[in-house]
Symmetry: C2
Subunit: 359 residues, 2 copies
């Protein structure tokens, strides 16, 4: 029998704190995830909920702290005030100490990333972290990274993102050999950042076994689901993500206005409510809640700050799946293999005679 | 009485060439724009249309060329094969020679930009061109630039984009003092590209008279219409634009699927068709057709390659408005004023004693 997945839960993060984090955890359990929780936060708020929910209490340990990172804390403030003793830090540290397999927090992204970097450090062969988003598409879901952890990326970092994103897609999307595209701005020769072009060459030459590199994709390809994994540096990736969310909201508002204009439209809307319910499910951002911090020696899941109980349970279930299938170990291996394969090239030798031995 | 606006029309560009460019021109005339057209292209295709449309023929001159840039020509190919004699080049050159006030083409963007740069050159105080898009928002329209002309931007170029975008917003959006935001990725201290931060400082310090700089905006603010003008470098801007278009298409597909599922939804859709017609108008990209090339010594409008007659007429009407209100002259003046104002600072003098005299 497999051991339960050990999830460290920052109960105090997000706009609603324990009010949604704990019921979210309970719901993930009810839906069948085999989890043991380490819960970090204020016992005055958490204790009563656990007392009333023996199912969750039975698989949880509680570590009290009354220090919590606020949603508007700047990363440096959060580190100064909350390093070592905030619920956010303690949840991440549990992963570091191998007391948990993965951490989940709905706390503010900047502080969470700063703490995760400080506590966990980057993994071998990676020089900076990334945030991967699960993006709904007309064909299903696509993993997009980096959506805002690091600004700018050299070619090697983009290749690392491809390797990490593909490993995540295998687990989250259940695709054996995910297709990967590099985000660019058209195929005209004068276009494209040099490092993006170089990354494309590296990915073609490497012919990595665990991913199928298909070339450049454009912004419009993300929503089409053209590839399983879209790679970009964090500035453009964050702007793409926020712009897409904004456009979806804009369309929803247009739709509401259109269907509240005249009486027939209103009646039509009522008749079509089954269709609209299906639409609502498709457009529901809660279904893809959970930004995954990759590139660190330990995985942290960022649940959306506004998430409700359902959204929280989705983030926890993604954490469960990722830890259960050992994403971290898979990324480590894939990066090491890729690093070994290119080592001879980097040292300038034309023959692989100087490659590190595969012990 | 004002003279008509002189528009140079590349009749051969786009997926449909003269088939949509000429009826588009005719429609813009019918809708009241006071235009004289210089039409460039194949007289065998253009002549018969003009013969059958005396209204358009009366205000048009035709210059024959049988060289046309293809939609899949690379910029370098287009320049090699079509410099000096293609319909695209000749339309741009008419602006250069002051035989036209503005040029319109639906030809491929890369080739059009390469030719526009080669023929017109950048204007004083600007080192690279930009493409401005008119973006539909829930509050109206927003100007976004650069959406793909130049990759990367230093702080000074971002300031220039703000000045050019604001001048365009005054004309196209009829706003006296447009609000301007710099696209960035959140307000956390660790985030943000250095040049974006520096541009923000410069814009605050400059306190330019013709625009109201409001600070950073995020991707989600574009569709909300938070500001009249959104400034970004061309890589992120292009990705934002394409991602938004992709998301709008995705939402439209979700909606079609949702309303064709069960019988009641289908009936509801029929009843609500007035509402949906309104929605369709709002989502119709033809209403904002026309990418405006700025920063060159002459303005070129890029109509979408797939545009139909209506979309083409919109692009021509935007060209008409921009030329009628002398966007180019307004940009030149605003850039010169801004350049003079910052000249003392750049030279390190604390007193404006060394500022160039305002002759």
């Amino acid at each position: 029998m497999m051991k339960p997945v050990r999830i460290a839960l920052d109960a105090m993060g997000g706009d609603f704190g324990p009010e949604v984090m704990l019921p979210g955890a309970a719901r993930a359990l009810e839906r069948g995830s085999d989890i043991a929780f380490s819960i970090f936060g204020d016992e005055k708020l958490i204790g009563p909920y656990l007392a009333a929910n023996p199912g969750l209490a039975a698989v949880s340990s509680l570590r009290h702290t009354d220090v919590a990172v606020r949603m508007d804390d700047k990363p440096s403030q959060a580190l100064r005030a909350g390093r070592r003793n905030s619920s956010m830090w303690l949840a991440i540290e549990a992963v570091k100490k191998n007391q948990a397999d993965i951490a989940v927090s709905a706390g503010n992204t900047g502080a969470l990333m700063a703490m995760a970097k400080t506590c966990l450090h980057t993994m071998p062969n990676v020089d900076r972290p990334a945030i991967a988003a699960i993006w709904p598409t007309v064909r299903g879901r696509t993993i997009v990274l980096d959506v805002g952890a690091s600004i700018g990326a050299d070619a090697q970092h983009l290749v690392n993102l491809a390797i990490m994103g593909a490993a995540m897609a295998r687990i989250v999307l259940s695709v054996e050999r995910p297709t990967v595209g590099l985000l660019n701005i058209g195929s005209e020769e004068m276009k494209g950042i040099d490092e993006v072009k170089k990354a494309s060459r590296l990915l073609r030459e490497a012919a990595l076994p665990n991913l199928d590199y298909v070339g450049f994709v454009e912004g419009g390809d993300i929503g089409k689901g053209t590839v399983d994994v879209v790679i970009t540096e964090g500035f453009a990736g964050n702007i793409a993500l926020k712009t897409a969310e904004g456009t979806a909201n804009q369309m929803a508002q247009y739709l509401r206005e259109a269907l509240s204009g005249d009486l027939l439209s209103k009646i039509g809307y009522l008749l079509a409510r089954k269709g609209f319910a299906a639409l609502k499910v498709k457009m529901d951002p809660r279904n893809v809640n959970g930004g995954v911090f990759l590139g660190l020696d330990g995985v942290v899941i960022k649940s959306h700050g506004h998430s409700d109980v359902f959204g929280t349970s989705v983030a926890i279930e993604i954490a469960y799946k990722i830890a259960r299938h050992q994403l971290l170990g898979q990324i480590r291996e894939a990066l090491a293999r890729s690093h070994e394969a290119r080592a001879p090239k980097l040292s300038g030798a034309s023959q692989p005679a100087t490659a590190p031995s595969q012990s």
